[in-house]
């Protein structure tokens, strides 16, 4: 056993020798490529259900319908971002109200936690009727509702869950509540907020696309996927899913980059680096 560990120490794995970055990226990348190849082979051989299509037919559809797909992805991106913006703004406003007024917190927070547990996407037809099925606002509304709850709940916790000693310290300076809010509560909230915002970015796309499934303009990811699948054009359906995913990933990366800039002290605290 001792000989074994000694040998392991002397000889680092070939992955580690590629450098820390490559060592981290390479394994999942290899698995991904293998899975895509497997998908292609099994799909061509007809060993998997036809609706699962193949990567090559997806790529073909991507090239053939590039203009429609890009316009659709753009439209869905706007809906999701609109919903993200509205939901985040409402969530933050309510969180500040809840943090400021204990009564508001005692009433709103349990309600919000309860509401967050129900399948909110079931509301999509209601928003489609309310704002008009062709109006992007109906999709944004669905997005915003999904986004609202995590933002509201997390931001409230971040504003309220401040160390009692920090509050005592501020009390020793005899400063106003506004000053405590600005100097302690808001910075304390930011890590909670960004964690929720990243979850919400994904939720915003789910909300928008689900609302699209219930009807509306045709050049949006949800409609493209739905009509393609009904028409048996599975390659196009998958191409739509891919573009929707890419849009969501880009949005998520942007939010992550903003987080890194906004709260570097927290990121490095979490990573344990510097």
């Amino acid at each position: 056993m001792t000989a074994g560990t000694a040998a392991a120490k002397r000889q680092p794995g070939w992955l580690a020798r590629l450098g820390p970055r490559a060592g981290k990226i390479l394994p999942p990348l290899v698995v991904f490529v293998v899975l895509v190849l497997l998908w292609e082979i099994l799909g061509k051989a007809g060993s998997i259900p036809r609706p699962l299509s193949t990567p090559t037919s997806m790529a073909d559809a991507l090239v053939e319908h590039a203009d429609v797909l890009l316009r659709s992805a753009w439209a869905t991106l706007i809906e999701a971002l609109g919903g993200l913006l509205i939901g985040t703004a409402l969530g933050l406003i309510m969180a500040f109200a809840a943090a400021r007024f204990i009564v508001a917190r005692d009433i709103l927070l349990p309600l919000a936690i309860g509401a967050a547990a129900i399948p909110l996407v079931a509301l999509a037809p209601i928003f489609n009727n309310w704002f008009g099925i062709a109006n992007p606002l109906s999709k944004m509304a669905m997005s915003a509702v999904l986004v609202f709850f995590p933002i509201f709940i997390s931001a409230t916790r971040g504003l309220v869950e401040v160390s009692p000693s920090a509050l005592e310290l501020m009390r020793s300076y005899a400063v106003s509540d506004t000053e405590v809010l600005r100097r302690v509560r808001v910075p304390n909230m930011l890590p909670f907020f960004f964690t929720a915002l990243k979850v919400s970015t994904t939720l915003a796309f789910i909300g928008a696309i689900v609302a699209e499934y219930f009807g509306g303009t045709s050049e949006v990811i949800g409609r493209v996927v739905l009509t393609a699948m009904f028409a048996g054009n599975f390659g196009l359906g998958w191409a739509g899913i891919l573009l929707g995913a890419l849009a969501a990933i880009v949005a998520y990366l942007v939010v992550s980059a903003v987080e890194r800039r906004a709260i570097p002290w927290y990121i490095s605290l979490r990573d344990g680096d510097i």
Binding site: S163, S165, A166, E168, L169, R171, S172, Y173, A174, V175, E179, R183, V184, P187, L190, I263, W265, Y266, S268, L269, I274
Partner: protein, 293 residues
């Protein structure tokens, strides 16, 4: 700060009571009949077992808690006015540094709040960081510092507004023994350099004896001052002071007081330093190592 000294005590407590409501609808007396005067430049430690109300007492001086009865004067004003005037700095058991502020920015916080700006502010920050010997770490963030260093930042922050009074609530309670002893020496150095009046809550007997000019011994249920031990260990003190006979005698005296014995009863002349102590130095040393609590 230095002008309004004269004979007036920095802290004047008389007939202080504090009770907290209990779950059953009754009340528990956390503090009862506290009378204490703290003079300018004194280093007072409040020592006692958990639940004796020493931290509550410190918070009453800082107007973070209001007493049930009795009067509190700080710098000749009400405790509230003293807090509003930022007449004291406070250090807690946890450093309570803000993660989002660098060392320098944490020390700057009270200066920002008090509207100290420009060159004056920069000068004060430099002085404070020099004082706690952390000038090389001004751009570091709290999570990059050891617990002892974090607490030194907290001390620098507490002194940034040059308050007359420094309140310390078991500031080194969470640190290991070696770090604690080093910081004890550091606090003494800062106390000598700045001439502050310090009230220091601790449950460590060696710490109380090494640091203070008077050790105020408290007993629990209800929290009362049971003894006040004059710690006449010569100044300036150093690590060597911990190895003198007088140090061990004082440690014993505080320990006896904590046990509820009147030191004067079995030791008629406390003022003559250990002439005919029956216990051998090594035995005394062994007993002195432990801390109360």
């Amino acid at each position: 700060m230095t002008d309004a000294t004269a004979d007036r005590p920095v802290v004047h407590l008389s007939g202080l009571d504090k009770s907290f409501p209990t779950k059953g609808g009754g009340e528990t007396a956390a503090l009862q009949g506290i009378d204490l005067d703290v003079q300018t430049g004194e280093f007072i430690s409040l020592i006692g077992p958990s639940g004796c109300g020493k931290s509550t007492l410190l918070r009453i001086v800082g107007d973070l808690i209001e007493p049930t009865a009795g009067s509190v004067e700080v710098n000749g004003k009400s405790a509230r006015q003293a807090r509003v005037d930022r007449d004291y700095g406070i250090v807690f058991q946890a450093p309570v540094l803000f993660d989002w502020r660098s060392v320098e920015a944490n020390v700057r916080l009270p200066l920002e709040i008090s509207g100290v700006t420009g060159a004056e502010r920069d000068k004060r920050i430099d002085e404070m960081l020099d004082l706690v010997e952390l000038s090389g770490f001004r751009d570091h963030y709290p999570h990059q510092l050891s617990g002892g260093m974090q607490q030194r930042v907290a001390i620098a922050r507490a002194l940034a507004l040059q308050p007359a009074l420094l309140l310390m609530d078991e500031p080194f309670g969470a640190l290991d023994e070696m770090t604690r002893e080093r910081l004890n020496a550091e606090v003494l150095r800062i106390w000598r350099a700045t001439g502050k009046t310090v009230i220091f809550v601790t449950h460590s007997i060696p710490e109380a004896v090494f640091l203070s000019t008077r050790a105020v011994v408290m007993s629990p249920r209800p929290g009362r001052i049971s003894h006040v031990v004059d710690v006449d260990l010569p100044q300036p003190r150093s690590e060597d002071s911990r190895e003198t006979d007088r140090y061990y005698e004082l440690v014993t005296e505080v320990r006896e007081a904590l046990r509820g014995r009147t030191p004067d009863a079995d030791k008629p002349d406390t003022d003559t330093p250990g002439t005919d102590e029956p216990a051998s130095p090594s035995q005394e040393r062994a007993r002195a190592e432990g801390s109360f609590g």
